[in-house]
């Protein structure tokens, strides 16, 4: 990716306890900012959870939100992850119409994307794909003409890109 993205990915390390997600979400809600996607799960230490939140906000107001997030007692650390400097993954499950006439074409697409078929019905297929959000968008677009019956994405999770050069 070359152009600066207009959405922002925040990785928020929080205490793993009741009400913390509501506190974080509240700071976006009171300003009228929509949370585009959200993923929450405990880290390797059960006492902490990592919230990966994608918001569509300009940089200046975001800086203020980040400062306000930092003020929350249960928030440990916040980093903004520039998609250019991070690795991202998202999981998508998708059910698509797959009658005998188009089934092989759909399976070929799935194969090209390394998606797994996880359920097969009489005239439908459910597949899953974990990859970059962009690849998920691409597969979704290619399958849309066939008729998408159901679709669920997890929201992205991300970690900073590692240093590649030896010191």
């Amino acid at each position: 990716m070359s152009a600066a993205p207009r959405y922002h990915v925040l990785s928020v390390l929080v205490e793993n306890r009741a009400g913390v997600l509501a506190r974080v979400a509240n700071l976006f809600a009171r300003r009228g900012y929509n949370i585009y996607s959200l993923a929450v799960a405990p880290t390797d230490d059960e006492n902490f959870s990592r919230i990966t939140v994608v918001v569509d906000v300009e940089s200046a107001p975001l800086e203020q939100v980040v400062k306000q997030l930092n003020k929350l007692i249960n928030v440990i650390k916040i980093s903004e992850l520039d998609p250019r400097d991070s690795v991202e993954r998202e999981l998508m499950m998708l059910t698509v119409k797959a009658p005998p006439g188009t089934r092989s074409e759909i399976l070929e697409l799935a194969g090209l994307f390394d998606a797994s078929v996880i359920d097969v019905g009489v005239a439908e297929l459910t597949m899953s794909l974990d990859d970059t959000p962009q690849r998920l968008d691409d597969l979704e677009a290619l399958l849309r003409p066939h008729g998408i019956v159901d679709l669920q994405r997890t929201g992205r999770v991300a970690l900073p890109r590692l240093d590649h050069a030896a010191h």
């Binding site: 009741a18 800086e63 007692i73």
Partner: protein, 592 residues
């Protein structure tokens, strides 16, 4: 090891935190906690409305510097205390508020007097916590006081379900323990306020201060929270820089000091407003560039560089981007700054010539002092005259509380604050009805001081019932109602900006009968209508120390608060008292 139960543990925890007064009102869900209060040395002040409990706790905190404590029951009691929580949050006042909650099995079932208290108060508290296990109570109370009083202070709410404080519930019993400071810190891994300012930034600030030719110190409420009044005075005197004190900082720097310019802002005095506007350096100490200070932002202090010191990193750059941002405790940072500047001066460094700036400032003070026209015999009282008389006849360390509106601005303008923690008011939220309960809380916290509440007739009607509390609890505050029969500040805006179309602002001077009402609440009450009665009535009130006193002053409703920076205008467009000359050097094209 001693076994205890949740209710007894809660009261013991409050005792160990040094609480001497709780403002509250019992009810179903908090009942088990009210039983051990009977055996506690803590004084409980029984309020008449939960909003009163919250504002009393605020008045206590603002006058003593210690956290105020309020305790109420669940549901409607919790919702009634939301306004004081929000008020304390806006003004960074340390409070610990305890609310009862329905028993844990009933939470979320729409039980009687149930509401989602932590949900409702999440955005008006620094932190809140629903406790679900009795054994957690000592730690949660320790955390609450730690969070409320450190960093940028603020209100913390602790919501306590009935079953975990009920001595008849076996699950409410546990082995008593009292967490250490280290355990409290370790339990809050995300909470580490920055206290010490960055040395390099402090050096930069010193350098900028030494170079400025038109500097102004812009002191805010953070000075009082950080107990930095002495450090501020040393800084101002060391650098010979004039000081403006915001509405939240009145008393942080003595009004009778030659470097004091008084209050800036929408109703600030002309010199304070204009000095900030023309400054080449604003040294913002514990202030937050509130819209009532800056006026229209793009025209605010256009030539000024900014040094901004605040303990809350979120304030730096929120409104105006500082040239030197310093995160830290105001007192520590100012003391460090003083040291660095001292070193420069000892090394022979000198301030640039600021005589032109000084003479400009004294010129403004001469042409545009705060003023009002004395009323002629037979006319209604001028509110400013009443305030002058109150001020002259009260001891100089008298604590004064106010509500919100014209009377608040006049009090801030005409009182001479010479001591910190003598001004109790609602700044950020602008809560009408604040003064009576806040004054009661202040007097409960500082029984050695005289406490006057200056109130408007509109404000008084919102919380006056707490005078019953004051009478029964023998908390002898004094209340001056400036009765102009109007919601005065709204009337002023309608007169100035809505072509004198007065909509829903008239209140009547006679209904209610304030004297009868005050007497019914156990107060001594007086009505004053002419100037010669003002002084004697105040003197009489000042001698009464066994019960509250209320004086109703009939004041002129046509009187307006000047100066005024109209909403949406820049501070250059300040409107001065009509008897004074139009400011010279006003930007051409500015509208009146």
């Amino acid at each position: 090891m001693t076994t205890t139960n949740g209710g007894a543990a809660l009261i013991k925890a409050l005792e160990l935190e040094g609480v001497d007064t709780i403002f509250g009102l019992p009810g179903g869900a908090i009942l088990p906690v009210y039983d051990p209060i009977l055996d506690s040395p803590i004084r409980h002040v029984l309020v008449r409305h939960e909003q009163g409990a919250g504002h009393m706790a605020e008045g206590y905190a603002l006058s003593t510097g210690r956290p105020g404590v309020a305790m109420v029951t669940s549901g409607p009691a919790a919702t009634n205390i939301v306004t004081p929580l929000c008020n304390a949050y806006m003004d960074s006042t340390p409070l610990v508020v305890i609310t009862g909650q329905v028993g844990t099995p009933a939470i979320g079932t729409d039980a009687f007097q149930e509401c989602d208290t932590v949900g409702i108060t999440r955005s008006v508290t620094k932190h809140n916590e629903l406790v679900t296990r009795a054994a957690d109570i000592p730690m949660v109370i320790r955390q609450a006081f730690h969070i409320a009083t450190t960093g940028r202070p603020g209100p913390v709410l602790v919501d306590i379900p009935k079953d975990i404080v009920d001595p008849n519930n076996p699950a409410a019993h546990f082995e008593w323990y009292w967490p250490t400071d280290d355990e409290v810190s370790a339990s809050l891994p995300g909470y580490k306020p920055t206290i010490k300012g960055h040395p390099r930034k402090i050096k930069d600030a010193a350098e900028m201060t030494l170079e400025a030719t038109r500097p102004v110190i812009y002191a805010g409420g953070g000075i009082l929270k950080a107990r930095a009044a002495e450090a501020l005075r040393e800084f101002a005197e060391l650098t010979d820089i004039p000081v403006v004190t915001t509405l939240m900082a009145r008393g942080a720097f003595p009004d009778d000091h030659e470097l004091c310019l008084g209050m800036p802002g929408m109703h600030g005095n002309y010199t304070a407003v204009t000095a900030m506007q023309r400054a080449d350096l604003l040294i913002a100490l514990g202030s937050r560039f509130d819209d009532r200070i800056t006026g229209r932002l793009d025209g605010f202090a256009p030539d000024a560089k900014i040094i901004h010191v605040d303990i809350d990193p979120a304030e730096l750059g929120k409104v105006r981007r500082p040239d030197v941002p310093i995160v830290g405790d105001c007192r520590q940072v100012i003391e460090e700054l003083n040291k660095v500047i001292h070193k420069h001066l000892d090394g022979g460094r000198e301030f640039p010539d600021r005589s032109e700036w000084r003479s400009q400032i004294s010129g403004w003070q001469e042409t545009h002092p705060l003023t009002f026209e004395q009323s002629a015999p037979g006319e209604l009282l001028k509110p400013q005259y009443v305030l002058e008389q109150l001020r002259e006849r009260a001891p100089e360390d008298c604590i004064v509380a106010s509500g919100v509106g014209q009377h608040q601005m006049w009090t801030s303008q005409f009182w001479h604050f010479t001591h910190p923690y003598t001004w109790v008011n609602s700044g950020g939220l602008g809560t009408m009805g604040f003064s009576v309960p806040a004054a009661i809380g202040a007097k409960a916290g500082r029984p050695d001081r005289m406490v006057w509440a200056v109130d408007g007739d509109g404000c008084f009607q919102m919380t006056a019932q707490e005078l019953v509390t004051a009478s029964t609890e023998r908390i002898p505050i004094k209340v001056a109602i400036l009765n102009n029969a109007y919601l005065g500040m709204v009337r002023q805006w309608q007169e100035m900006f809505y072509e004198e179309r007065y909509s829903e602002v008239y209140l009547s001077p006679d209904l209610p009968d304030y004297v009868k009402w005050a007497e019914a609440m156990g107060c001594v009450a007086m009505r004053v209508e002419s100037p010669e009665e003002v002084g004697p009535a105040i003197d009489k009130a000042n001698q009464i120390n066994d019960r509250p006193v209320v004086i109703e002053f009939r004041t002129d409703s046509a009187e307006k608060v000047y100066p005024m920076v109209p909403s949406g205008k820049t501070n250059d467009d300040i409107v001065v008292d009509p008897t004074q000359p139009d400011p010279v050097g006003r930007n051409s094209g500015a509208t009146r």
